[in-house]
Symmetry: C2
Subunit: 529 residues, 2 copies
């Protein structure tokens, strides 16, 4: 009964993307080539977005039985996306468009598109699709195991995954050999232009100022009003919705869900989703993670719509992105003015629970500086020490100077040295962050502190242009700040390198000055002279 | 500043799926070729699943701003999936595996895989990828417009979409020319082996029996206890969850959400999701749509796991699939025994609301036969008349004997003639079903009635093997029926043609006998002699 009639093999191939001969293509006008470039880049963007949608689904609503196949599906999409990104026809097209790009202004959308397309292509061709697929499948599988192993305090289960993550990180770096440090290609992926050496220098300088600052602040004791009482999940979520809506997050083009680890994901310009997590005994988790992710989302929702569907239609780098989550979470969201506006709403949302808590007390409580175990719950000052430790540990694991099995011990020693507390177990120790256990090894942490540094730098630039911003925030008016950021930073998407962008927006290079000034000013009353 | 260093174009291509030369490939043992076939089919399955996940997301949680890009994303995935499905290398591989397949038993997994792979490939190569992508993008766009146009009773807005749907249906059919009727290729896609002529014959015979049956039943008047009172959404959903869990739906491998139009979608063997809709003034909507979709899901969740990820790892045809949704929704879910078990739980779920409603009264209410406007709310007897009308209208639209703009009038005339009622507007008339307005034109409706016919045929076969099934159902024991269906029907997945499968399971060809007997027995007391 098996059918044996011959298929007409040619038909399918004829319908694949047109393969014009080289001579024909060279005669085509640049506009036509640009249109083909955009078509190809749109397809890559569509596949990337599909992968992001599968990731969002996996973190939010996927039943547990779907995990295995989901890993394979995401891997298949990653591999295909990568194949399209490294297609030699794409490379030739970019080559042919170079003379045209040279006739255009550097900051035009078209020249930028061709420039960034080249950067992405040259990076993509160095990495075999097979690696991309394996790394993707590994990340999904490892994440599923970590979700259960962390609450079980089970480092032994995660050890082989950690080792595999390190191996995959090294394997990836080697595609970009030669390099000075094995983490350089990984760091450059997240924060173009940075290296292990330049981040280490930056972090060493920061640590030199932060450690004495923490020493002097944390000697004071504060009653912690964040954790007083019970804050029901639905009320917390309703409050979060009001807050992030007010600062400008557009729910027509996004949504807020709950996940184990909060994140922001861009499925398209019109669909930028954020997630949070709610602890009913701690008001600050849902609130500040919502603000954090909403900061990422404001950036993505404000990129110039004409860049949609191209590699320019998203944030400039991980560090610049993080500057916006930090700006909205900390610089704005933990400012006194912010709470002058929102505290009455908070009091109404949780009737009776804040009646006897003065605004000043609440403000100090949410800005309490203390040596603590969990990065995502850390205050904005000690937070950086958590990052510095992680960055140093992942460099060592990639170098091979720290073995995976020795991580728990190195973590405890590092926490003692960097933060000044030692975790009682791995759950609140080296297992706490998803990064290393979901395929992000190297280049995953430094961006947070780069983001802190840049958040103050961008905010200082905004204040210089609009000194009234703090007053507007205290009146619940966020549009002036949002507009300034949109106009000067967000709308450019990925057109410029991080260093170019920082210079354009602030007039200077990235530097820790404004961040340290911001911290000193904010905690002035609490720093012993 | 534009980078101009030359890319090494070869690298990306070298990482694409290995292109072995023909001579090398022919020397490979069959097992190796079979492994490559599976790898290719798995990739197609992964991409199909990714598309299904995007579809689920669009129907459930996607913000409205994501609609435009989502259409493009789904189209890109459809095009890529289709390109992979029509890849000439896949065809050659299948050719080379034919001699091997001929040495295997017809019903072995391997021979079946090669056989179905050939069927899918030969179908795929007839359709250009461009058509697939356009049809997918059209479906997504049209669906978004329909979601708003239907409640607004706005046929004018939908008219160009309807016309485009007809055009796309014809365009698709023409890839399979010559055909006897333009709808034949579309019907064959859903219900392999059926044609416009064979369905028309089947439906004419059914109509001849159904019309007098409806005439005699509907003259009796029943008080409708389904709609009495208010049934809160969360209580309804909790009841639905209990019911579908009890019949065997596995929530570790699925979930239930709300959508405008209920559906079941398979993202993998471990992730088969269903949706429902809740009307707080009508208990039956959520309940029976949940049972309906759970019937589809029981089928998908029970396919032999070794078929996972291949084209065999899903239901045999749309009609056979529909037989299982109908079996669980109607034959089981509207049976008296089913409610002997579940009625006490229903009474407890809605305290006070059913205290004075006897089980018999409730049973008759949920089986009330009446001429009504909405297909999805129709009883199981008149339901088929709704289908017969739709089938006839779509054949005429595809033939060109009914113009799109004349559909509302033809609908009203048809409802009068087939069902005996005339809708007051298009919202409850020709706009009511999503099918024609989401890219399914032709081949989308006949499967429902084929499903009704087969549901009774399969159930009769199960009863023959296990006459105790009704008693078990009345005791809340669904596993015996579920097991019999799993063993005899579900586990085979798509290994056999619908006609082969029906013969294997029931020992006879598809025929209306058991279905008409089932209806006559169920409604015996209400049919005037």
């Amino acid at each position: 009964m098996t059918k044996t009639r011959k298929a007409q093999y040619g038909v399918g191939a004829a319908t694949a993307p047109a393969k014009t001969s080289k001579s024909t293509r060279n005669r085509r006008p640049a506009e036509e080539k640009l249109a083909e470039l955009k078509r190809r880049l749109h397809e890559i963007d569509d596949l990337t977005a599909a992968g992001a949608a599968l990731g969002w689904d996996q973190a939010t609503y996927m039943p547990i039985g779907g995990a295995g196949a989901r890993g394979r599906q995401r891997a298949a999409l990653s591999r295909l996306t990568h194949e399209k990104s490294a297609d030699s026809t794409l490379g030739k097209l970019i080559d042919e468009l170079e003379p045209y790009a040279a006739t255009l202004p550097y900051d035009s959308n078209e020249a930028s598109l061709i420039r960034i397309a080249r950067r992405d292509f040259e990076r993509a061709i160095k990495v075999p699709s097979d690696h991309v697929a394996r790394a993707s499948a590994f990340g999904a599988e490892s994440y599923e195991v970590w979700k259960r192993a962390r609450p079980a305090n089970d480092f032994a289960t995660m050890l082989p995954f950690l080792q595999r993550g390190i191996d995959l990180g090294r394997e990836y770096a080697d595609f970009f050999a030669p390099y000075h440090h094995v983490a350089d290609p990984l760091i450059d992926d997240a924060d173009e232009g940075m290296t292990a050496a330049s981040v280490r220098r930056l972090f060493a300088a920061l640590r030199a100022d932060l450690v004495p600052m923490v020493d002097s602040i944390t000697e004071q004791s504060e009653e912690d009003h964040r954790r007083l009482g019970y804050f029901g999940e639905s009320a917390q979520l309703a409050f979060c919705l009001s807050v992030i809506k007010r600062i400008g997050y557009d729910f027509q083009r996004g949504r807020l869900d709950k996940t184990v680890h909060p994140f922001c994901t861009r499925l398209s310009a019109g669909d930028v989703r954020i997630t949070t997590r709610v602890f009913e005994n701690d008001l600050t988790q849902a609130l500040f993670s919502s603000l954090h992710e909403a900061g990422h989302a404001l950036y993505e929702q404000s990129v110039d719509p004409v860049l949609e569907g191209t590699p320019l239609g998203r944030g400039a780098s991980v560090g610049v992105h993080e500057s916006q989550s930090r700006l909205w979470e900390n610089v704005v969201g933990r400012s006194r003015g912010f709470w002058e506006y929102f505290y009455p709403l908070l009091q109404r949302t949780f009737p009776g629970q804040f009646d006897r808590v003065r605004l000043d007390t609440f403000y100090r409580a949410i800005n309490k500086v203390e040596r603590s175990l969990i990065r995502t719950e850390a205050d904005e000052v000690t937070y950086n020490l958590h990052i510095l430790l992680r960055f140093e540990l992942e460099l060592k694991m990639l170098e091979g100077t720290l073995r995976a099995k020795d991580l728990p011990e190195a973590w405890r020693a590092g926490m003692d040295s960097y933060v000044g507390v030692v975790p009682p177990d791995d759950r609140d120790g080296c297992l706490q962050d998803v990064h290393w256990f979901s395929g992000i090894m190297g280049g995953g942490f430094q961006s947070y502190t780069i983001g802190n540094i840049l958040s103050a730098q961008f905010y200082a630039a905004a204040m210089k242009a609009h000194p009234n911003i703090p007053k507007e925030i205290a009146a619940g008016e966020f549009e002036p700040l949002h507009s300034w950021l949109r106009e000067n930073l967000y709308r450019h998407g990925r057109k410029f390198k991080p260093s170019e962008l920082v210079r354009r927006v602030t007039g200077e290079q990235m530097n820790t000055g404004p961040y340290l000034s911001y911290l000193r000013a904010k905690y002035a009353g609490r720093i012993r002279a």
